[in-house]
Symmetry: D2
Subunit: 289 residues, 4 copies
């Protein structure tokens, strides 16, 4: 996958788009290895992901591709949104955590496991507690404990943002980070903060979803990976998974069984993000997996 490029587009639907984009790439020597498209009939909107080999592609730099694509195609289509990604770039991911180790651990393991083939680097872990330091530092990852005091959230976020900037962080993962961040913080990483919520959203928004699930007596629990927006637990959903439970399961069992689902869901959301398979529009995702 290393020397491929990915183009993500969405725009009002119209005839000829696929033909035009594929010709644009083909004529410049770009061998398409994968193409996905989708038309949202309700929105009247067209979504596309094209991945092509850069080996013999005549335009080599991302900036130039962007410029030429805009001149030849982009400017003709009102309201077109597009991104270009080079897969040889290694994104920098910051992981935020609090007390629970299972998601953090799974993420570190997958990042370091060659067979997972995750194209990512973790320059730092940030936590509002000092609890997980020993789970992180042995892997050679710096651990930053930044206390978040009730009335001084902005102060803490200022420190966080400095670290994120210093390390050129591309996107953030909230690996069971038990703090609500400010709108200002979120606005700096649009569709670039992935959160795991430990319920099958929109059921059980907010804290203690397993307790609520137990009280309600549901027979299936779940977890949701989504991008963070200003509205709590209401951002675009990337992926969800579920787990069957029964009357035998107390709250502790739900927490234990849920952790397994959470690990899978957050890993899946990160993988899809890294492989540039997600387009966001109208608070929903198109996932070309």
């Amino acid at each position: 996958m290393n020397n491929n490029a990915v183009l993500l587009i969405h725009c009002p639907d119209q005839s000829g788009l696929v033909a035009e984009v594929t010709r644009f790439l083909h004529e410049r020597g770009g061998n398409i290895v994968r193409l996905d498209e989708h038309v949202d009939q309700q929105l009247g909107r067209f979504f596309m992901r094209v991945e092509w080999q850069m080996d013999n592609f005549e335009i080599e730099s991302k900036e130039k591709i962007r410029k030429i694509f805009l001149e030849r195609i982009g400017h003709k289509y009102d309201g077109m949104y597009y991104e270009v990604h080079f897969m040889d770039y290694v994104p920098k991911m910051a992981v935020f955590a609090t007390k629970a180790s299972h998601c953090l651990y799974e993420i570190i393991y997958r990042t370091q496991s060659p067979s997972e083939n995750w194209n990512v680097e973790i320059p730092l872990v940030i936590s509002n507690r000092d609890t997980l330091r020993d789970n992180v530092e042995p892997f050679g990852i710096p651990y930053h404990y930044i206390k978040v005091e009730k009335d001084k959230k902005e102060e803490a976020e200022k420190k966080q943002l400095e670290l994120l900037k210093k390390h050129n962080i591309d996107f953030i993962v909230f690996a069971r980070y038990m703090q609500i961040v400010t709108d200002d913080f979120i606005s700096r990483f649009p569709n670039r903060i992935i959160n795991i919520h430990h319920s099958f959203l929109p059921a059980f928004i907010g804290p203690k979803p397993y307790h609520s699930a137990y009280e309600r007596g549901v027979k299936i629990i779940g977890a949701t990976g989504h991008y963070v927006t200003n509205e709590l637990d209401a951002g675009p959903i990337i992926t969800q998974d579920v787990q069957r439970i029964s009357h035998k399961d107390g709250v502790k069992d739900l927490i234990r069984k849920g952790r397994q689902v959470e690990k899978i869901v957050i890993s899946e959301a990160i993988r899809l993000h890294l492989e540039r398979k997600i387009l966001v529009c109208d608070n929903k995702t198109v996932v070309f997996d």
Copy 2:
């Protein structure tokens, strides 16, 4: 299963209950074929289901079993709730429907299919539309069209209740019956009205859940079989199931995919009810499947 009896109990937990109940049955010649028990630690409550063969059991009538059980065991335990069922009795189930045929159809098919082994009879189908008559009458089941006018709900329910009484109906299934019934109606069939809600409760309570699911952009939809209580879509959940969806699915696809889940879930809820495997307590179910 024909000549078995089932005892369902729940009461405050205490030592020796299983020993006492099993001895009671054993000493009277009742061979236990299945026993399930559960202690809800949070409620401090004990639940049990025992099924035994009546062939050589010395007490033959349900009323006598109930009386002797009460004298020997029941009276010693404060707050004990119990039911006795004879499996050779064929329960009478009324099915309520509106326009959608899929659940109704599945229920009729399973009722008439020997291999499903459902011990049940459908003396009548009641509907607030005349639409499904041709789906029902060919199977030899009477179809009653009772119009439910906005301000005359009680009037319609009066007619329904007369029919239910006349046919000695034991329990009711709302097979996508699109009417909210009165508290009075519900109070006459406590834990004996099974409803299918076409969402993964408590997500998307109320009408048009597939539209809401589409709007929210969830990646999994579901259905819930539950007993009807006075609070809308909030009764004890019997069973739930889910189905994975994607951005490719419009509302119509969700409806189509959902129907498959609904059919399975309502059939499962009916089967569990017929096999006397459900105990209800504190608005939750214990399902001994």
Copy 3:
């Protein structure tokens, strides 16, 4: 979907294929509503499905599209396989059954249910028993009982083939048809006989898979929808699904639980076939759902 056309292609992979095909359609006024492509890296083979609106398409007949496509594109690519389908054509499906009614029933229900939106007609049901006649004729579908005697299989198949020809059957579904058909019969419907096998293939090939599953003590059972080839239960798999079981389930329970999975799997396979979403190559399927 009514006035759309579908082009299915597979051929050795090479650069520029998507561009060429999409331009071909676009230049002739064909608005693409859906495009899927896949490159099988191991086979070095390219697969594509394009669906476009015929409303303003300048070539109107299937034969002409085929001819012009061959002249302009097809002939340039060695080893290209392609099919063109018009979605306003209603395929004719023959259903073969024996004793079990659940798959047959489900298929008839879905065919007749408007909300399933199946674009298909069932001109006849053929069975080697007379058992299911009453399950079929009330729906207005002719039922043909053709006995298959041990040493006279060819004779029976001759009668079957005459009926299939007479009714211009496009494809066949074996809805738990408990007969092995001859290679000659199969060769007349290449990738056009869909079979449901009541196990998770390749586990438990052959008869009585639920008995074998019970003997082996598996914890999950399944069903497989596949195209029939000369090798028993070894044809290209279209879709599979599974169901969790436990030690509580005897053979009868496996059969009962399995039926539910079989119904879903066979319906899914038929839907995919009708929507022209399946390409077969090298005894495997590419399913663009």
Copy 4:
């Protein structure tokens, strides 16, 4: 769970067993916290698991319970098999691995994670390679590299057995250990070696199941946790799980997706073994979860 005891029984089915066992425990002050029973109709065999609190139980030692139970109950029932376990005993588990780290890692993580609540100790990891040393020693677990040469398997196993004996190992987990062990080795740990096989058994027995699954074109892959017996991949199945795949997945994807299933399945099998929820009879398991 700490001060509970568990009794596991199976024997030819007969009336009165539950009554007798529960009375035996109740009369000696044992408060039953959980009871599960199952009658295998085909085998005519009764299975039971009872868990009770030892706090006020009048017999305190495992040996004495065993003796008294035998005198009062066991001797009356021909062919009764039973085990008694005290949950305050911490079993010693040896983990065998080769090159793949994912199962090993998951097991170590869960063993050390308080919220998993695994009652187990890992005194050592044994491997036929030196590859995974750095994945194990940082957790404070000794890593033993014992080379297994083709013609000197017995020699290697002798060393392994010495280590197992020295550390009082109770049971073994093959966490993707890529060696076939001798019958002699297996006979020393009957129903006490848990293996993870990376397929949905009995499909794809033997090596390279993901390659075989890819070749066959299945749409679902799986993993199986089972006890090791003399016949390869044919021991009693404890638990299985599956994962949906598609034509997009090459062999590498199957391996990657399968690892996730393997981790879950092996963890589940170990948990069930530790909680004494498994009974083995006739090469099948009864799992009281």
